[in-house]
Amino acid sequence: MSWEIVIGLEIHAQLATASKIFSGASTRYGAAPNAQAALLDLGYPGTLPVLNAEAVRMAIKFGLATGCTISRRSVFARKNYFYPDLPKGYQISQYELPIVHTGSVEIELADGATKAVRITRAHLEEDAGKSLHEDFAGMSGIDLNRAGTPLLEIVSEPDLRSAAEAGTYMRKIHALVRYLEICDGNMQEGSFRCDANVSVRRQGETKLGTRAELKNLNSFRFVEKAIEAEVQRQIELLETGGRVVQETRLYDPDRDETRPMRSKEEANDYRYFPDPDLLPIVIDDDAIDAVRATLPELPDAKRERFGAQYGLSAYDAGVLTAQRALAEYFEEVAAATRAQPKVAANWVIGELTAALNRDALEIGASRVSASALGALLDRIADGSISGKIAKEVFEALWKGEGTVAEIIDKRGLTQISDSASIDALVDQVIAANPTQAEQFRAGKQQVLGFLVGQVMKASKGKANPQQVNEALRKKLG
């Protein structure tokens, strides 16, 4: 029996505003517990929410980037439930009228085909605080620093058909919100997390199966693994005559299984109603146009342009445009150097990315600036150093040993390209390797590589390989 997997994701992206969505408290991560909670965040009597306009602009930005409709009028509602880390006893969210709705993003599938994933809605809401259940002598601690942090909840249609598709979609949204600079995307700190609604149905069936909601998935890998485990569970259940129950489940990565979070009997009635403390958000064309003017070039468009403008492969263009900062870095390098864009791309994707990964740095914190890398590539292009030497110079740059010129100078790495010196080296090598020289003369072309290598070795890598090649051919020809 063949099963179809049906998945919809609810992604919570923490908006990168300086202050909270309804209070002036800072959203900076990592402060001492409750140091960043204003009276409003503590739910103090008499306090009132005032909407952070920046959060609205960010939501509009997301809507425009995903072809969504921006609601001219949207409404905040209260979601009522009791929990100690929810200080007001309700969460301010949007219910019937979200700020953004009906759009889509395109994802690339494993087989190279593309697929549009529909976005049902994206709405603004405040985050709750955190309950800390350890280290309080059997009691729970409450940290309200996170309470009131603005979230954009991005809800997809159940258009995803595998764990891998869900992962791809999540990565796509992750890249997009970072591109738009509306979310820092830091998953360790919980800035980007998701819930997955998962169900299965028999192939050909048009009705959706009963779904389980997997909560709080905070890494791409967990999303995929959790969905796989849940799909497996549901299929086994159905194939042995069982029934899927609609419920909220949590993924346990240690045991690679999902288990129920709360039972249906306890299902909350959230008693949503419009929040009377906040006016409806009214957005006119001017406001939308103002945000549109701040939209950066989006990943898909940038990737296409990189292919056309720089002659890069689809793969290279894809890697370079996956992060806005990386793409910008590449363009700076390409503009700063006479080297071919393809060479610049290879260096950014290769040496630079490897060094960043090794030191666990973001591109913004790169120890080699785009202009320095450009200067380095110029020296390869003008033949003053070889590609191999360039790698040595790059490492020195990374360690902060000076500018490209200083390093080459200090280490005496300038390429040997005067013909007299090269001829002398070539003569030396031919004399020292008579057998190989004879083999080449007899027509064994492969030996040339060995001889070039010997010359390079003798020059400590500084000889111009092109010239060495030519000199050898001339002398042995």
Partner: protein, 486 residues
């Protein structure tokens, strides 16, 4: 000194006929003398009041006094006051000291007014008799066996007994106007959003509005212009200029048309109260006003609509009182499981009327009932608003009774919530429609004061206060003081 109006006292202070310290001492002495019997105050801030009074005198000596500098006021215990207990009439907040000042408090303080203390009120402003207070009922200065009305009962009694020059109040369904009527004083509830709600403990956010209780309309004008106006901390506060109400009230009387909704004079209205109201309307005619009958087709639905919307919002607004961060925590509740912890804190902290409204509100918002109750009530609310809007195309003001009867006995209606709720039958409409409205003394029935209610279009506080002021120029009901306190 105490029977002088706030406007007169302001003139006395300006002319240095009296100092703020003298005035404050005088009122503090009267509180000391009378409040045991009245129970109008929850907290008297004598020490702080004298400090403020001294500062006010110094400010005046420096020559930068505002009209209210040195005027002793009482504040309803629903407004947060930094460093002073704010109880909202509830055991839940018996030990709650707010860490900040409400906008109303802040603006009065900026004007140099003196705070005498915090006044008693129905618990969380839920009540029409001041009997639901954790601190016991307030007694009506006209007859201590009677209620002063509610929920701003302490403020009303304090002004009626002249133990404060004026007082603040809040009005969600009539909580300024009804006690003003039952206590024989003047009270105004401004347009929704005219005065900031920041720092005012919420009952029903879409209906709550701060206002003042005074001897006269001119006094109310002086106070209102000090506190009205945009506040960035309240998203629902209106960004409209604040006229100088105290100047407007003195402008010459113009011809106005007063609408009289005949449905206000139905069988539910005490016939003697009806006669007083009719007489007041005659007085307006003598002043040159034209009376015109108006129809408010849906006003009879205001009480049921209100008792859906207000409890719905209250059930959510009061969720924050859980004993986690502030407020009442039952002894040893921390050792219980979470649900028991909540139930014990809230079960002990809230009184019966508050619980009744939380239950009602939770019910009307529940899945399966929301459309039939909450949405339906919102539709009715719109119809009532439209009724008023239609009426105001033909008339400048709407007039009628504030309350169906004069003050009733303590305990007389407290066992029957429906009967109690009907006290607000004439006042709720203005809250549902967000309109400014006043109550002013217009006569007596068997020795008890009767209030005339005037309702105006949105932001027409100026014309409203002016109409009240011109009535008070030709009548003296508002100058009458119960004998004991004269």
């Amino acid at each position: 000194m105490h029977d002088r109006t706030l406007t007169e006292l302001a003139a006395d202070l300006a002319a240095k006929r009296v100092s703020a310290v003298e005035l404050t001492k005088h009122f503090l002495a009267r509180i000391e003398l009378y409040d045991d019997a009245l129970n109008a105050f929850v907290t008297v801030t004598a020490e702080q009041a004298l400090k403020q009074a001294k500062a006010a005198d110094e400010r005046r000596a420096r020559g930068d006094a505002a009209p209210l500098t040195g005027i002793p006021l009482a504040h309803k215990d629903i407004f947060c006051t930094a460093g002073v207990k704010t109880t909202c009439g509830s055991k839940m907040l018996d030990d709650f000291v707010a860490p900040y000042d409400a906008t109303v408090i802040e603006r009065f303080a900026d004007a140099g007014a003196v705070m005498l203390g915090k006044t008693n009120m129905d618990e969380f402003a839920m009540g029409s008799s001041n009997e639901t207070s954790y601190y016991g009922p307030v007694h009506n200065p006209w007859d201590l066996k009677l209620v002063p009305g509610g929920s701003s009962g302490g403020s009303a009694a304090a002004v009626a007994a002249r133990i404060a020059a004026a007082a603040t109040g809040t009005d969600t369904g009539g909580s300024i106007r009804q006690p003003a009527a039952l206590s024989g004083i003047t009270g105004i509830k401004p347009t929704y959003g005219r005065v900031s709600r920041y720092g005012m403990i919420a009952f029903a956010s879409s209906l709550d509005q701060a206002g003042v209780l005074t001897q006269t309309a001119a006094d109310a004008a002086l106070l209102l212009e000090a506190i009205a106006g945009l506040d960035d901390r309240d998203s629902t506060s209106l960004d409209e200029p604040v006229p100088r109400y105290s100047a407007i009230v003195d402008e010459p009387w113009e011809r106005v048309t007063i609408g009289v909704p005949e449905s206000f004079f139905d069988a539910g209205l005490n016939p003697e109260v009806a006669s007083s109201i009719r007489a007041a309307l005659k007085e307006y005619e003598k002043l040159g006003a034209t009376l015109k009958s108006v129809k408010l087709d849906y006003i009879h639905l205001s009480v049921p609509a209100y008792y859906v919307v207000a409890p719905a919002e209250a059930s959510s607004n009061l969720s924050r009182f859980d004993g986690v961060r502030f407020g009442h925590r039952a002894s040893d509740a921390i050792r219980e499981d979470l649900a028991t912890f909540y139930m014990r804190n809230r079960g002990e902290g809230f009184g019966a009327e508050v619980k009744r409204r939380i239950l009602t509100g939770t019910y009307v918002l529940s899945a399966g009932y929301f459309d039939a109750y909450y949405l339906q009530a919102q539709k009715v609310r719109k119809l009532i608003s439209d009724d008023f809007a239609r009426a105001f195309r033909e008339v400048d003001l709407v007039a009628g009774p504030t309350s169906p009867s004069p003050a009733f006995g303590i305990g007389q209606k407290s066992s029957n919530p429906i009967e109690m709720y009907l006290n607000d039958i004439y006042t709720i409409g203005a809250n549902l429609a967000g309109l400014p409205a006043m109550s002013l003394p217009c006569g007596f029935v068997r020795g008890l004061p009767v209030g005339l209610q005037l309702i105006a279009p949105p932001l027409a506080e100026g014309p409203l206060l002016k109409a009240a002021h011109h009535y008070q120029r030709v009548t003296d009901w508002h100058r009458r003081v119960p004998e004991t306190y004269a």
